[in-house]
Symmetry: C2
Subunit: 415 residues, 2 copies
């Protein structure tokens, strides 16, 4: 009963003045848009968000990178180097519930849109900032991108083979992981502001945000007083084999199944021995206790691999999972994008983008009464300039035409 | 100006009935608690959340794992196998704004606390569920833990060396990453419920949530129609070297600096050549253009490594970062836990836990008007049973004593 027009509408009436670019900020405001806010993305008329050009050489086609973080927003082109352009943004700030930015340190203040300025114009504004490093950090003025945050925030140090170099986790946790914590803070502040009518300045360093996602490894350090190790595909906390990937047919680079027997659920191990037809292990002193399995982990993993190699990964997941043991086929992005399951459940939605064409876009994965937010394609640069200024500030067509002719706003809204 | 008693207080007055365990659910309700909600964690009187026992053999001491996800909550022990115990939880649901659970599929319904039941008792309840797989997925009934979600949700397939096996990202993105998306959904629903007075059933699959964090890799697949590759410490999107870790003095397992020159900011490359004393590279045809640097990436990385090996990672970060180039020392968890910077900024806070002793706890990394939420230690099992039932349901001392004597509630609140 998927409703192909469903919108959660939680934030209907909430106006977001969006000065974000790339990913850490845009991922945050995109979620607000999915949840129903009116998100007006302010872009410079010449090139817009540099994220539009990441990874592409096609000057008139937005990169999928941009599409992924800017669905359901409006694009408003305003020349901020013109005092009259800047004033328009300030007038929008007066109407906004939320302001969000992730420019380089100090840039928004130099532009004249710092918290001190905007909170005077609008004392109830919720003003969000994502930076590489937190306020007061020795690196406060440093630039950062996702990988810098992941290096400085510890996530790389715990990713890799036990005897290999640190590696970058594939997910862009430095960006989107931080953006989600800012989104939480904005929503909680919106809730509060309904009672108090007061705004707040929210600030997060991407480095600090990484710690939030590695607390199990921080717990290891608490216990050992050493750096948490790298654990390959296993668990950093360790201590309860099997907990790893096991090779499957036909042996491709991502043909593995993850199998995990939890310490908190000893029956996982019993069931696993049954599934792989090795109930003898239950009484084998080399494997009958958790301590013995830790001791003989390599031998145990080889026994399980002997079984897993006889199955493809989906079959292995089905057999192990159906027996009530946590198991997961290791899926690559091509398999995920092409699995009809995600489309049926509207996790992926096929959209037609004005200048990119057909695109499988990802929506917010949480369902609201069984329904997921409908994707509206990321806006073409400046497509919503006139309509937004009419909606937010009541500008009449002749005023918009004059501002466009003077290159204060633009490019003009597409017909 | 750090205020050692600061609380954001955004959710003052919001009651959360917390039936979560382990991490995916607990990380969500902990953030709600940091933001000011009254979070009553319902635990079975015998052992409580199995997360208390993860990784520890000490029966009367909670593991740091538990402490990390349950700060600022209350622990309420109720025997749910007793009809009268179950009724108490239903009475609490009538008073709650939010209900949250992450049991195995079907368990909460079997327990008699499904959405159908609780929404009749309290039509304005916001009912949140985290499961391994989304509703309608072929794996909907399967168990999952963090690593299963990371295998099935694609994050492992993009983590590892280009020619090596897939690896698990160190961060527990499957758990906390999913918990944060649920937290966002709860907060947005709370905002809406103030107008509508209506509740909602929120549900997220951990597998689906992983896609939210790998959108750049999905974009690679959109462009290549192939699985996104593994990229070691580099960037999956690629295309703009240098973008990697470089070895530093004294050569330990985490002695590296990350250096990145962004395609969107060509001056990063110019500045880097200056910092490493190699302005000759700017005119060297092997390195003068982006395309040439892609072609000669290995040679370029060796040139930068020759420079980085002469410095320790902090010095390297300082020199490169101060020149306006994104750079990050690669830090391990021991360095992070012991860096006084984080304590000064109250990212880490020293607390004294009743049965664990001194503990450096991590707070929510976002600052509110420059201040961060103060940690209250995770509760001892059942420590708040009586007080919470008095606060939420108005139970008098004699009623509490009788229920305790009959083992419907308990253990008794510690003096």
């Amino acid at each position: 009963m998927a409703d192909s027009n469903f919108m959660p509408g939680c934030l209907t009436g909430v106006k977001v003045l969006d000065c974000t670019q790339f990913e850490a900020g845009t991922s945050c405001t995109q979620v607000l848009a999915w949840l129903g806010a009116d998100v007006a993305k302010i872009e410079n008329p010449a090139t817009g968000d540099p994220g539009r050009r990441v990874g592409t050489n096609k000057p008139h086609q937005d990169d999928p990178y941009f599409l992924n973080y800017n669905s359901n927003k409006r694009s408003v082109c305003i020349n901020l180097k013109e005092p009259r352009g800047l004033q328009i943004v300030k007038d929008m700030a007066a109407k906004a519930d939320v302001f969000m930015e992730n420019f380089a340190p100090g840039a928004i203040e130099r532009l004249g849109l710092g918290y001190d300025v905007l909170s005077k114009i609008n004392p109830r504004i919720i003003y969000g900032q994502v930076k590489g490093f937190g306020v007061g950090s020795p690196f406060e003025k440093n630039l950062a991108f996702d990988m810098i945050a992941q290096a400085a925030g510890g996530t790389m140090s715990i990713t890799g083979e036990p005897n290999g170099p640190p590696l970058k986790p594939g997910p862009t946790l430095g960006d989107t992981g931080t953006g989600m914590l800012m989104c939480i803070s904005i929503l909680a502040s919106l809730y509060k502001a309904r009672d108090t009518g007061k705004g707040v300045r929210l600030n997060v360093g991407m480095q600090d945000a990484m710690l939030h996602y590695i607390r199990n490894s921080l717990a290891v350090t608490h216990k050992t007083q050493k750096p948490a190790p790298r654990a390959g595909a296993g668990s950093i906390s360790g201590g309860n084999p099997p907990c790893n990937i096991f090779p499957c047919k036909p042996g491709g680079p991502n043909d593995y199944v993850y199998i995990y027997t939890s310490r908190a659920n000893p029956e996982h191990w019993t069931r696993l021995c049954e599934v792989i037809g090795r109930k003898d292990l239950l009484t084998d002193p080399k494997f009958s206790t958790r301590e013995a399995r830790v001791e003989n982990e390599a031998a145990l993993e080889e026994i399980i691999a002997q079984w897993s190699r006889q199955h493809d990964k989906y079959e292995a997941m089905k057999l192990v999972g159906a027996a009530g043991i946590p198991a997961g086929a290791l899926r690559d992005t091509h398999e995920l994008v092409n699995d009809p399951d995600f489309e049926q459940r509207r996790v992926f939605q096929r959209i037609e983008h004005p200048n990119v064409g057909p695109f499988k876009a990802l929506t917010f994965p949480v369902s609201f009464d069984g329904q997921k937010a409908t994707i509206k394609p990321a806006p073409v640069l400046g497509a919503d300039t006139n309509q937004t200024l009419a909606d937010w500030l009541g500008y009449a067509p002749d005023r918009l035409a004059a501002l466009t002719a003077e290159k204060i706003i633009g490019p003009a809204m597409k017909a």
